[in-house]
């Protein structure tokens, strides 16, 4: 069974880490994920940019595009796509195309770090 691990933390705190503190956290995690990677069991790892960079597309009769992260509490994260887009505009159009005729909402967030095999090359 594949499991997705969604990292959740207080953003204000993570943003206030110094570069050294941030690097230290990643290095600590790396020591664990490295062992998992050695067994060939590690999939892609992704770090997202802060929620201030997010754009939300809410599908409905007319898709509604708003700035900021997805903030509803009664809806839950059900899955995600990772798509290479040339611009935010293209990303928004892609979300509208995927979600056509649905009531789904997409939060579009630029990716800060992408390690396809889980660990940085």
């Amino acid at each position: 069974m594949l499991y997705a691990f969604l990292c959740c933390h207080d953003e204000a705190i993570v943003n206030s880490w110094s570069k050294e503190e941030d690097d230290a956290v990643l290095a600590k995690r790396h020591r664990v994920t490295e062992r998992i990677a050695a067994k060939g069991k590690l999939g892609p790892a992704v770090r997202l940019m802060p929620t201030t960079t997010a754009t939300t597309v809410r599908m409905g009769r007319e898709p509604l595009v708003t700035d900021g992260p997805f903030a509803e509490t009664k809806e839950a994260l059900l899955g995600f796509y990772l798509i290479d887009c040339d611009s935010l505009e293209e990303a928004i159009e892609t979300a509208k195309a995927i979600g056509r005729d649905e009531r789904v909402t997409f939060e579009i967030r630029p990716v800060r770090l992408f390690a396809p095999k889980g660990v940085a090359a």
Binding site: N15, M49, T52, T53, G68, L88
Partner: protein
């Protein structure tokens, strides 16, 4: 659990929101700060035992409000203090206050707290000091260090600034749309001041001021979280991120300024650049350009160039022209002239800055740019006098040292040119027997 290092960042990041909410409650800055301080002390006792609360801001606000009230009651010598546990574990009350903090009041609370620090009667330095003390919670000692002044002098300045804003009476009602936009503009300018105070520092003590840049970015991000759809706040945040991304490459080992063209671009922080560029793009979708967005876009053009030679100067010139239309100022024109010199040559740029001699007659950068352009045109004597003027106007030793480098280069080139000239006409150099 004895390690309490995890608590400090929680308290730090909760501070602006909690102090803002307490200020609305008590309507007195000193009382709000004291109440927050006391709540932090209780957090340090309580959290290591009970673990962190679900919502640190709500916990600190609730506890701060209660201890503040206790102080009032104690003053009146009435009821005894409630037991510590009674205020520390009230899940319901916490959820209740979290809900109330989530509404738009809360956003205006933080904006008000920031706005109080931008009182127009306060000189820039006092605005910055007050914001760092009250909103960011930096100690007087830290702030004094950043401004390179004594602790008691800084303490005095902050006290004076506080009593000034206490008399200002910023209304506590939710502001109207126009009022809110005005406050937002003033607060953005103040955050930019904080950043510049850290960014313009150079020389041996420059590292002391990096915290000012970090704080400014933290405040800009906070503001953007509260006003996620304001393109100018996106622009401001992007501008700070893109400029700060170059911090490591801006000064050499001796603390001397390294110009953009000469910076080692591999030392730029590419995570900050990516975030800044994402915000620039997001802001542009609104189609409401403003000065911060344009300046961020300019910083973005530099950030995109892997080598200085790859810089799209045409785009930079267009952006400065747009900025000039939006916010005409001789300094913006001076910057456009630099772009013009790259696109159309030094002659055109020199013509553009000629009329600025009067308004920028005591501006270091004006003479630096002028000297550089004259140097490119081979007008060495005039270049020399412009550089001399720049050195006289330099605000920091690093600025002066930087111009001296140009002068040295000019002298060397001058000597080479002179040598070549003499060679070509066959005149021996005075005092030289080998020629």
């Amino acid at each position: 659990m004895t390690d309490i290092a995890w608590i400090d960042p929680l308290l730090r990041s909760a501070r602006p929101q909690a102090v803002s909410a307490l200020l609305r409650y008590f309507r007195d800055l000193d009382r709000a700060e004291e109440a927050f301080q006391e709540a932090c002390l209780r957090a340090l006792r309580n959290w290591p035992v009970n673990g962190p609360p679900r919502d640190a801001v709500a916990w600190l606000t609730l506890v701060g409000r209660n201890v503040g009230l206790d102080d009032v009651r104690r003053g009146k010598k009435s009821e005894p203090l409630p037991a510590e546990a009674a205020i520390s574990n009230l899940e319901d009350a916490e959820a209740d206050i979290a809900e109330r903090l989530d509404d738009s009041h809360y956003r205006d609370d933080v904006l008000r707290l920031l706005f109080i620090c931008c009182h127009p009667d306060l000189p820039a330095v006092q605005q910055i000091a007050l914001a760092l003390r009250v909103v960011s919670g930096l100690s007087v000692k830290e702030i004094a260090r950043a401004f390179l002044v004594g602790e008691s002098a800084m303490e005095q300045r902050i006290t004076r600034a506080k009593s000034r804003v206490a008399r200002a009476d910023v209304p506590f009602e939710a502001p109207g749309a126009v009022e809110r936009a005005e406050r937002l503009g003033a607060v953005a300018a103040m955050i930019y001041l904080v950043f510049n105070e850290g960014y313009s520092a150079s020389g041996g003590q420059a590292h002391l001021r990096v915290p000012l840049c970090d704080e400014a970015i933290r405040l800009a991000r906070l503001l953007l979280t509260l006003f996620p759809a304001e393109p100018e706040i996106m622009g401001l945040t992007a501008l700070l991120l893109l400029q700060h991304a170059r911090a490591a490459a801006r000064l050499d080992a001796d603390g001397a300024i390294v110009l953009l063209d000469d910076q080692d671009r591999t030392r730029w922080d590419h995570d900050l650049i990516a975030e800044g560029l994402a915000l620039v793009e997001k802001a542009a979708r609104h189609g409401r350009p403003g000065p911060y967005q344009i300046q961020a876009a300019i910083a973005g053009v530099h950030a995109r160039a892997a080598r200085a030679a790859d810089t799209d100067w045409r785009q930079i010139e267009r952006l400065y022209a747009a900025l000039e239309r939006l916010q005409p100022s001789p300094v913006v024109t001076l910057n456009r002239a630099v772009a013009v010199s790259k696109v159309s040559g030094p002659e055109a740029a020199l013509a553009l800055i000629e009329p600025l001699a009067d308004p920028l007659g005591s501006y270091f950068h004006f003479f630096g740019v002028k000297g550089g352009l004259l140097m490119q045109l081979g007008r060495a004597t005039q270049a020399r006098s412009a550089f001399d003027r720049a050195i006289a106007l330099a605000r920091t030793p690093a600025e002066a040292a930087h111009i001296r480098l140009h002068v040295d280069r000019l002298m060397q080139e001058g000597q080479t040119a002179e040598k070549n000239f003499r060679h070509s006409v066959g005149t021996p150099r005075p005092g030289s027997s080998s020629a």
